[in-house]
Symmetry: D4
Subunit: 163 residues, 8 copies
């Protein structure tokens, strides 16, 4: 992995496309290079398919941390706090839940130093009262395409119910 690859993959994520044209324009990397490198990344398994799903481990983002966040309890506070949590680097998912009215936050990180920074970033949010972070020993499943979590019939039925 070099910087160019990272720039291309971030363009993919940011633009939501694998089009060499658009990526080239966004990154100033020649279109043919974009094309060549994307093909190479797919061959190397960093990108796993046509939908360009990236392999977190291959990118060095080996650490996953699940954090429970307890924040001060004020009217509508959860919108502000939720957005501040979402803006922290490495934070991938933020859920505002009913039980204990906390946030559950999932972050991907590269090393111990980033863990340290993540916790400092939580501390820097005024309304945050308390956090409890859990280190993930093993990610058993993390399916990028939720439809893969279902049998075809289940989703079809559920849609039928809706209508």
């Amino acid at each position: 992995m070099d910087e160019r690859n990272v720039r291309i993959l971030q363009a993919v994520a940011e633009l939501g496309t694998g089009s060499p044209d658009e990526i080239s324009e966004y990154t100033d990397i020649p279109k043919s290079t974009v094309h060549y490198r994307l093909t190479k990344l797919k061959e190397d398994g960093v990108v796993s398919n046509d939908l360009l799903d990236v392999d977190l481990e291959a990118l060095g983002l080996e650490i996953t941390v699940v954090t429970e966040v307890i924040a001060e309890y004020d009217e509508q506070y959860h919108e502000d706090v939720g957005e501040q949590l979402a803006a922290i680097e490495g934070v991938n998912q933020v859920y505002f839940t009913m039980g204990d009215t906390d946030f559950i936050v999932i972050a991907h990180l590269a090393d111990r130093e980033m863990v340290h920074r993540l916790i400092s970033d939580y501390e820097a949010i005024d309304e945050v009262v308390r956090t409890s972070s859990q280190f993930v020993v093993e990610t058993v499943k993390d399916e990028p395409h939720p439809l893969n979590d279902f049998e075809l019939e289940t989703v079809v039925e559920s849609i039928a119910d809706e209508d």
Copy 2:
């Protein structure tokens, strides 16, 4: 949404591609129809970009549940239990964590009946001792492309450290 759309979107998820050829072969829906419908789904916002990210709400998967699972404590048990949890319909992510050595599981569901079934499915795993599920009131962030969680420099630096 009708059944054909669901079948096309599941083919996308399963095959990891948006190629009308492959989807047509997999679903027995004519290639032109696949093409037409994918374009339409994109226009309708069910599919948000070229990477064909789906909108869970548009698919009727409105409910997100975060569950803490405590299982019996035996050598290597977490591999078996983890796989059983991952195989339950609707389960999207399964993390084996260090604190309390539990699993944290995230599932997407369509309605109350599916919530009921999810909990019964957890109960049906022998080694599971206890579950505590939290209803998500609001999904503040759920980024399908983790690279969007970072500044360019952070990832570049982190790769440099690795090498």
Copy 3:
């Protein structure tokens, strides 16, 4: 309060009616006595309105206990356990909840001896692992008619949404 009053009020509760005819037939207390006594109970405030809502304190059911029940975790166990809990004398409400997958049970009782018996009854259910009971210091609200919990418009709107 004497035994006749209790028998009449239980007939009301059991039959779901305040009709002196039906109550008389069910209790073998003469119809005119039923009528006279119901009127008297209303005057005395034991029964608060035409819907014959009873005043728990007037009946000597002064103690309210809220119990969290944790039961063994087996497939569909919650149906069996739920029914056993519901059948215990004094138990008024039984909820099977998502968080910790426990039951929350609300019971009304007359004295310490009945509290003792209630806890022994919980213990006698095989699948029950653990209970934690909380004594209610004050019942701030216990509205027998849930529609009183809402503004008219809220319910009307909610019905409109459904259709």
Copy 4:
């Protein structure tokens, strides 16, 4: 269910009577209509008996939420906070308990949006420090007439003890 039915049922709850005269006066719906509709609601099972017990599901109030409320700890605070909790729309029962000196609150709601509003309403009470809400998966028992929770003899004895 249409608006007229809702208005009639709320009059029943508010006035504590099924008398068409009083309901008609309160709602400005002609007496004969009130009579006809109540009969119809009983036939449809929305109202289950002469005491006009309503079926929450039939009214669209499908969701039950049990909430633990922790409030600031000040002299007599629980009276104020208790009343504020009781005044929130959808809140059906409020208990001030001895353990942890919290409130346990039970609410009935129609949909996710109302859950969202309920939690915002809790947040809007200054003295409330923290809430933890549990979604009810199944209401195993919710007996509107507590006398049905007892054997006849138990209540008779308990009254004898009192005197």
Copy 5:
């Protein structure tokens, strides 16, 4: 039990003696009456032995409540708070413990109203942040003379170790 008996028993407790002379002087009840009544109380089992141990149930103090108290955390705060807790009516024991640095308080009370007052008294102490009270279902043992908790040899040995 009448007021005179209560006054005599409180004099016993306050003065730490069963001497009719001293009790008579303290209470202004004639010495012979004191003597007669103490003998009678012993016969009735209200007072169980020569050491004049009283039977709490016979005095109507049927309720025992164990409370965990969490207080604000400030230098030496526990001395002030401890004394305030000890001064509350009905409070019998106050322990300042190492785990969680809380107080454990044991109180004897006569009825629900006194429970209510006890909790209000806790709330009235500024530094108290939170209390959790547990109702005692059964007092299995409450030995007024701790030496009865030991074998003779154990205490003898322990004294030998000291010297």
Copy 6:
């Protein structure tokens, strides 16, 4: 403190009397010695008053431990377990409580070795699942005569209510 003093004080506790006659008979220590030594113990402050309340510290019982005991949950189990707990040396009070249906146990001990033995004794009870012991840093109050916990009027009123 020598062995004779200990034997006399245990006789006081066991027999519930300070009568030199009875103590002499029970201990085989001459009556005059009993009388002389009790007077001396009172002068030394080991025994604080005519009711012969002993000073735990003076007896070397300096350590107080409060233990929460969780036991297996079976019908009537709490009677058996309660008695076994009450029989352990050093255990002074055993309460069976409603919250979590655990026992709260208070013990007085002389040194670390006895703490070790106490915990082993808890472990040796089959039905005991888990214990959590708290070391008391300071006993703020431990009133041997509960009537001292009340104002005269409070007890008088409470008795009046009873009758």
Copy 7:
């Protein structure tokens, strides 16, 4: 153990050496005395080896306390609080952990009075919100040389991985 021995052992700890020269200079105790006494301490088992590891029990530091510290949650607060905790007398280890973002502190103490002082010292730190201390019943292992915790190969491999 007399004061001179203590001074010599503290010099060893402070200077990180067993050299009689340096210790003599630091303590003003003649070099020959230092030499003689260190040899004697080793023979007596107070010092267990050439590395001069001391036996805590032999020094009278018999009590070990593990404390969880919860502190106010502010940016970088953990650095300040961590240092204040580390400076308290008797505190041997201070860990800032991810779960609940608390400190875990291990202290060695000589007697109850020092336990009392330790807890007062924690209370005196402004940012400390709450502490929970656990008394160690038995130190099963406390290895001064962490390399003894590993097989040779494990450390060799781990170093190989690094390079």
Copy 8:
């Protein structure tokens, strides 16, 4: 760091000496090499002083994990379990504590794989019911020489009290 250095440092830890003679005999590394390398390790800061304290980070043991262990509750179980915990590779300290009667275990590890193995090793102990591990973000203090935790006078006084 190469294998020879590791072998020398483990000999130091195992033998409790820095004597080149003894280390040479134990490791079969020539005495002069031992001497040279120890001097070099001191210069490089891997070994910090004459007492040969090693720097964990320099050895690649960068991760510290604090684990709470809950084990089955049986007579004397804690001796067996304690020893099994102490024998796990990487485990440095094992405390059997009074609160919750659990073990607190501190381990040093080199990488994620060793964390994984550590948790599997805990799982492999039959009597272990549950573990909760906390990742240490920062070791604020870990003093190898406990005497450095005290002022001179404190230890002197404490010894005086003993005698």
